[in-house]
């Protein structure tokens, strides 16, 4: 057999392996854990992954190109820069705005950046890592997104940027945020890590800000294991983001390529000698955050499933709504932002202050019955040890963020949550609340 025939055989066996190993996983009430999230895949992901391994190109290659192209076409964004995680995407996106190439528009140490306190840390940490000041604004319950009135009041002369996540897939009030950004000439980064596939006024989230980010961690809407992407329609920003991703280098050749710019040995940079090899010219203080082709190979198969995954997430969300509605005296149920169509990352619930039980009691009961719950990430992030003593500003108060920290939890809506699992969840919840 030649190598092409061997490859064909290996990929055929991979399909067979998928069927034997993964295709018929069974759920048993009280024995199988109901995870809040997880990867959902079929033989296509496995075949792509093995195919990429057999290429042994390893770094960005044909699958990276295909994956980026599919995202670009889906969202209608011209630049998709693949990175090794959603957090790296946030870091590259924010750091790019500090580039001297942006002239007066660039962010500088001491500038203020509007964000939410009830959030995941890596929406906020790039601000601190770049020596800027996060301004924490409280969120609204039950959308769990930034309070727009408080946000406008929080804008000062030093404010230069808005960096916000669409909380758990629920879009923030994009029209209001973009209006303020325009009025005060602010950059907007949409952290779309939890919301890939959500829509606002009929348009995908991640397509409104100057830059947006996606995460492909297994808990998210599609996965590449670890992985993420930075998106922008701005060509200059795209080039800067790519530079920050690739060690800060000026050269944009992909791995294994040379002289793509056609000017490798004929340019002047800094105080380097004229014609210094462009491959080793660094115009930013960058990182190495690249995705591998094996990860992209999984993503290239996963993204074809995104519409189906989002549909399933919405169905699961609606089923949770049915289940929880009967307990709305005790619990605050989530609400989609007006004009939005969220591809819910999860189902988020807050226990009312006068309920006869506390969040931790219900969460413990569910977890004891093998139903995973999660808190809304860092709760009120300013109370996290890493943030104590750091430079930040709180706009007015963070009362709701504190409330969320104490009373809120979420459940999985991911496509691996089946009808059987939801039925099991309902009976478990009924058993818990019956006691009260």
């Amino acid at each position: 057999m030649n190598h092409k025939e061997i490859r064909k055989q290996i990929l055929g066996l991979t399909t067979q392996y998928y069927t034997e190993r993964f295709a018929n996983e069974k759920f048993e009430k009280g024995k199988t854990r109901v995870n809040y999230a997880g990867r959902v895949f079929d033989e296509k992901e496995l075949v792509n992954l093995v195919d990429a391994a057999l290429d042994f190109w390893l770094t960005e290659g044909r699958y990276s190109e295909a994956f980026a192209e599919k995202i670009s076409e889906l969202l209608g964004i011209s630049n998709v820069i693949l990175v090794n995680s959603g957090s790296s995407a946030n870091l590259a996106a924010f750091s790019a705005l500090t580039s001297e190439k942006l002239g007066d528009k660039r962010l500088k140490p001491g500038d203020e950046v509007i964000s939410a306190a009830a959030s995941f840390p890596s929406t906020v940490t790039p601000i601190i890592q770049n020596n800027m000041i996060p301004v924490f604004v409280d969120v609204d319950i039950p959308t769990y997104n930034i309070d727009i009135n408080m946000m406008e009041k929080a804008i000062s002369e030093k404010t230069r940027c808005i960096f916000l996540a669409h909380t758990l897939g629920n879009p923030f009030d994009i029209n209001a945020v973009m209006k303020l950004a325009k009025e005060y000439n602010l950059w907007v980064i949409e952290d779309n890590c939890d919301a890939f596939g959500s829509k606002y006024r009929g348009k995908y989230t991640g397509t409104f800000g100057h830059i947006s980010t996606i995460s492909f961690y297994p808990a998210h809407h599609i996965t590449t294991g670890e992985g993420g992407a930075v998106l922008t329609n701005d060509e200059q920003l795209a080039k800067i983001i790519k530079s920050f991703r690739d060690w800060g280098r000026d050269c944009y050749c992909a791995g294994g390529e040379n002289n793509t710019c056609g000017k490798r040995f004929s340019q002047q940079f800094g105080t380097l000698p004229f014609g210094y090899d462009h491959k080793y010219v660094y115009s930013e203080i960058g990182y190495n955050l690249k995705m591998t082709d094996m990860q992209a190979a999984i993503g290239a198969a996963q993204i074809d499933k995104l519409p189906m995954f989002c549909k399933k997430r919405k169905e699961n969300f609606n089923r949770y709504n049915q289940i929880f509605e009967k307990y709305s005296d005790f619990l605050i149920l989530p609400e989609a932002t007006e004009h939005s169509d969220p591809a819910w990352f999860s189902y988020i619930v807050s226990v009312k202050e006068d309920a006869p039980f506390k969040r931790d009691q219900i969460a413990k009961y569910l977890n004891d019955n093998l139903i995973e719950t999660r808190n809304l990430f860092g709760g009120n992030i300013v109370r996290q040890p890493a943030f104590i003593g750091k430079d930040f500003r709180i706009a007015e108060h963070l009362n709701n963020s504190d409330y969320i920290m104490n009373n809120t939890f979420f459940l999985g809506t991911y496509p691996g949550i089946t009808r059987e699992k939801l039925d099991y969840f309902e009976s478990t919840l009924d058993n818990f609340i019956r006691k009260y």
Binding site: N79, V80, G262
Partner: protein
């Protein structure tokens, strides 16, 4: 930069109006995506789409992004362009990789733009001039130098340009009649408020750029389209 994609492309047409100048049009099953002023890499050798990209060379897109096919024009300058001229034929399959470059996507004022082109250096401008986005430029000026009138093979595109932006001023210089383009005269006419785009033979680009720098023009107001 937009996502760089590899395209298996077919040579649809080759025009060879002069012994050393070739205009080639490519088609592909995939829609070409690029911005005016960007360039591509053309490879002649076999490539399976997986491993190491073969030897290739940069060429500016001459056609506008709205056209389904891509056209380039090149003159034979060295080993690789000679090889391309020898090996290309209508119907041949080649690999293209694009888009690259940011000639017009870097921030610049749309007022007072002076486009200076020597010979086939006009091609990146044509991709802009024949694109709808060119209508936004206010009173642009093109200085185009060609060896002689018969070497001006771009009349069709330039006529289209005048329809898209009727404010354009096109000044053509034929070496056999008018001599070479003179940057001193161009600068005298437009001064240091203009943004100068320069494309053409490397020596021309270098000397024009150095002249403009010597006049203390800000470097960001000098945009060149040059390769080794």
């Amino acid at each position: 930069m937009a996502i760089v994609k590899k395209y298996k492309a077919k040579v649809e047409e080759i025009k060879n109006p002069f012994p050393d100048i070739y205009t080639v049009t490519f088609s592909s099953d995939k829609r070409f995506q690029f911005l005016p002023g960007q360039f591509l890499h053309l490879a002649l050798d076999e490539y399976d789409g997986i491993g190491q990209w073969p030897e290739s060379r940069c060429f500016s897109m001459q056609s506008s992004p709205i056209e389904p096919q891509i056209t380039i024009t090149f003159s034979i300058k060295g080993r690789f362009t000679k090889r391309i001229a020898d090996k290309l034929y209508e119907g041949k399959e080649v690999w293209l990789k694009l888009p690259y470059g940011d000639l017009f996507s870097q921030a610049h004022s749309l007022n007072n733009c002076v486009f200076i082109a020597g010979g086939t250096g006009i091609t990146p401008y044509l991709s802009l001039f024949t694109d709808g986005s060119f209508a936004k430029y206010v009173k642009p000026v093109l200085y185009f130098g060609a060896r002689s009138q018969q070497y001006n093979i771009y009349n069709k595109e330039l006529e289209k340009t005048k329809i898209i932006n009727y404010g354009i001023s096109i000044k053509t210089f034929y070496e056999n009649i008018d001599g070479f383009l003179k940057i001193e005269e161009i600068f005298n006419d437009y001064g240091n408020l203009a943004t100068y785009f320069i494309s053409g033979p490397p020596l021309m680009i270098k000397s024009f750029k150095n002249f403009l720098l010597s006049k203390e023009l800000e470097e960001k107001k000098i945009r060149t389209d040059e390769w080794e």
